[in-house]
């Protein structure tokens, strides 16, 4: 078992390789962050939520064929991404519930809506794939497969390539709890451990694989517990806490670069059905869902920043107003855009 460096989060007594980082109150300003960074996270999460809600609405209007909502995952994605951005040398393998991550790296609301409506100018795949699922290589983001967990072995191969070429990149691989049931997840983690590859496995555990709850996917309560079996550290994080996710990812990146792989499990909530095609009333307890919504990071984090004097109420109000106007503009823009020309169907089949 790889010895964790002293900078990693404190380990609990029960599970030597698992630690719990952060609580909902959160520390004030963690290492490497400024007040402006945290205010920017407020702006981003408010915009992402407004976008996510509009996308769902446009699905009901028949203009967005399919969408997987990010609601409940925003803090996990924005916190971990902030660590990757501060590091400056990370490459991301996202998974499909990642609107916050994609927008925070610079995707504009107009581009998002083009992508969800499948219009010409769609930036990731030329509207060949589901929304946001192609690659954005200039922003160090690669494609997503809908064959869950296929990206894990690829991310490990990417990290292997980085190591062979002698660069300093750390690869961050995001996936859900459902992906941990796939055999390739095991194969990826095992290989990464053998070669001490610079990769961080980031599990956004929302406790549901479509309708199948965690207890039908595994008997352990924490995916992170599996890390010990591969000989690298695993950490359980409150995924509704931006700062905890930032801090854990920051330390995991450092560990990956200097020692080898790490697994961080961010416990999040999925506030919406799996996708616009799903009806979660068939399987999801309404009271539990209402309870979960009490911890909505898009409500709590801006309030917390105001409480701590990091953001002002006026700023938050302005973010909300601005978000609505950006979302309106994006909707009109994408609605008026043309679909891709049918003659492009054979483009880029071969290099």
């Amino acid at each position: 078992m790889t010895q964790a460096p002293s900078s990693l989060p404190t380990e609990t007594d029960a599970e030597p390789s698992i630690a719990t980082v952060g609580d909902k109150a959160g520390p004030a300003l963690p290492a490497g962050l400024t007040a402006d960074d945290l205010v920017e996270v407020c702006r981003q999460m408010i915009l992402v939520r407004a976008m996510d809600e509009r996308i769902w609405m446009m699905n009901r209007q028949g203009k967005v064929p399919i969408a997987a909502s990010c609601q409940g995952h925003e803090a996990a994605q924005l916190g971990s991404l902030l660590a990757a951005q501060k590091d400056g040398d990370c490459f991301l393998f996202p998974y499909y519930r990642d609107l916050a991550l994609k927008m925070a790296v610079g995707l504009t609301p107009r581009q998002v809506m083009l992508s969800f409506m499948g219009k010409d100018g769609e930036p990731y795949s030329g509207a060949r794939q589901f929304p946001l699922q192609g690659a954005d290589l200039p922003r160090n983001i690669i494609q997503i497969s809908n064959v869950v967990a296929a990206g894990l072995t690829q991310s490990v191969g990417y990290a292997l390539g980085c190591k062979m070429l002698g660069d300093d990149t750390v690869t961050l691989c995001y996936f859900g709890d459902g992906a941990t049931s796939q055999g390739e997840t095991h194969e990826a983690m095992n290989f990464a451990a053998i070669h001490k590859l610079p990769v961080v496995f980031v599990c956004e555990n929302n406790k549901f694989a479509i309708s199948t709850p965690q207890e039908s996917q595994m008997v352990v309560s924490d995916v992170a517990a599996r890390a010990e079996g591969y000989g690298f550290p695993g950490f359980v994080i409150d995924g509704l806490d931006v700062i905890a996710c930032y801090e854990a990812t920051r330390q995991a990146i450092e560990h990956a670069r200097n020692v080898g792989p790490a697994l961080i499990e961010m416990k999040v909530e999925r506030f919406m059905p799996h996708t616009t095609d799903d009806d979660d009333r068939r399987y999801r307890d309404r009271d539990a869902l209402d309870e979960a919504r009490q911890y909505d990071p898009v409500t709590l984090f801006p309030a917390q920043m105001v409480d701590q004097g990091i953001a002002t109420p006026a700023q938050i109000d302005e973010f909300r107003t601005d978000a609505q106007s950006q979302v309106n503009d994006a909707t009109d823009f994408a609605d008026a855009a043309q679909p891709p020309d049918a003659s492009t169907i054979y483009d880029h089949l071969y290099v």
């Binding site: 795949s125 192609g134 690669i142 064959v147 990417y158 990290a159 390539g161 089949l349």
Partner: protein, 327 residues
């Protein structure tokens, strides 16, 4: 010119390309210290080190997924599938991922990966060491599928595959590895992926094949020549893209078409070649299009009698040529 076996030609191509480009590396089960079960990478670990001649865990899905990820980073991986029958756990990474990565990113990602797969039977490999797997990859847009039959082609095509920015399924018939010998130039050369090769010119019947069975077709053509039948043997060499021009040119000349392969007959390469001839050369045909292929059983069974019953042979091919020539 040096005389080589197919496996020696494969080894020579790999070694030259690894010397030429340090982004090229091989990975797979037992390819390092062991040099591969067929010794394709014998001695490589001494020349290139364990990182570029990487023994992987026994886990085919990740071999392919990791190779693909390394290709995304700009490496030029050559994953080896130990036997074609073991490719199935990795098929999602090939068909579901590698084949559509360039297309699905609107041209942003490239996949410079060559998947080497020893395939085919006639070696008493039974149900799990004999299989022909080409039809599935042939059916997949985004992949290139190459099936050399001689040492000269194995070397020249493998070098081209390694330099190609598309994912290439490189199928090496394992019975040809040591059975087939041939001249290979001493100097540097490559062969283009795509063109078929007329291995024997003839005027009465066109015989289209690839891999091991192409050699059986040549033997059959020599046999029927004694009876005054002139068979033209077209070696496809590359299955995808299919060289329809060479096939059609030959069929237009002979008016008769026989397709021979070891793979199962239903939905095989022969079905596509037959459809091509029916679509594009119907008015030239003087006989029904014929296919002599493996029967529709999972693959060739272990017992010698059953394996013989499965495999096309020079004798069965000669009989089929004679049948067509009689029209």
């Amino acid at each position: 010119m040096a005389e080589m076996t197919v496996i020696e030609a494969v080894r020579s191509a790999l070694h030259e390309e690894m010397e030429r480009d340090e982004r090229v590396f091989v990975m797979g089960e037992d390819v390092g210290q062991r040099g591969g079960v067929f010794l394709a990478t014998q001695g490589f670990i001494e020349d290139f080190g364990p990182q570029r001649v990487m023994d992987t865990p026994l886990a085919e899905a990740s071999i392919m997924g990791i190779a693909l990820g390394a290709a995304f980073r700009g490496m030029r991986p050559i994953p080896e599938v130990q036997f074609s029958d073991f490719v199935w756990p990795s098929v999602n990474q090939l068909i579901g991922e590698a084949a559509r990565s360039h297309y699905g990113t609107n041209g942003a990602l490239k996949v410079p990966m060559t998947v080497r797969i020893p395939y085919g039977g006639g070696i008493r490999g039974g149900l799990f060491h004999s299989q022909n797997v080409e039809a599935l990859f042939f059916h997949t847009p985004g992949l290139l599928v190459v099936t050399p039959s001689t040492p000269y082609e194995a070397k020249g095509l493998l070098k081209s595959a390694i330099r190609d920015d598309n994912p290439v399924i490189f199928l090496e018939h394992k019975k040809t590895y040591r059975l087939v010998r041939g001249e290979v130039p001493d100097e540097e050369y490559t062969l283009p992926i795509g063109p078929a090769d007329v291995k024997r010119a003839g005027s009465d019947v066109t015989v289209v094949s690839y891999g091991l069975s192409m050699h059986y077709c040549l033997a059959a053509a020599a046999t029927v020549a004694d009876d005054g039948i002139s068979a033209e043997v077209v070696d496809l060499r590359t299955l995808k893209p299919l060289d329809s021009e060479t096939i059609l040119e030959s069929v237009q000349k002979t008016g008769k078409l026989l397709i021979v392969h070891e793979d199962n007959i239903s939905g095989g390469i022969g079905a596509e070649v037959a459809a091509l001839a029916a679509d594009e050369a119907f008015e030239y045909l003087d006989a029904p299009i014929a296919r002599l292929c493996g029967p529709d059983v999972p693959t060739m069974p272990f017992a010698q009698s059953l394996e013989d019953a499965y495999m096309p042979s020079p004798e069965s091919i000669a009989a089929e040529i004679r049948r067509l020539a009689a029209y």
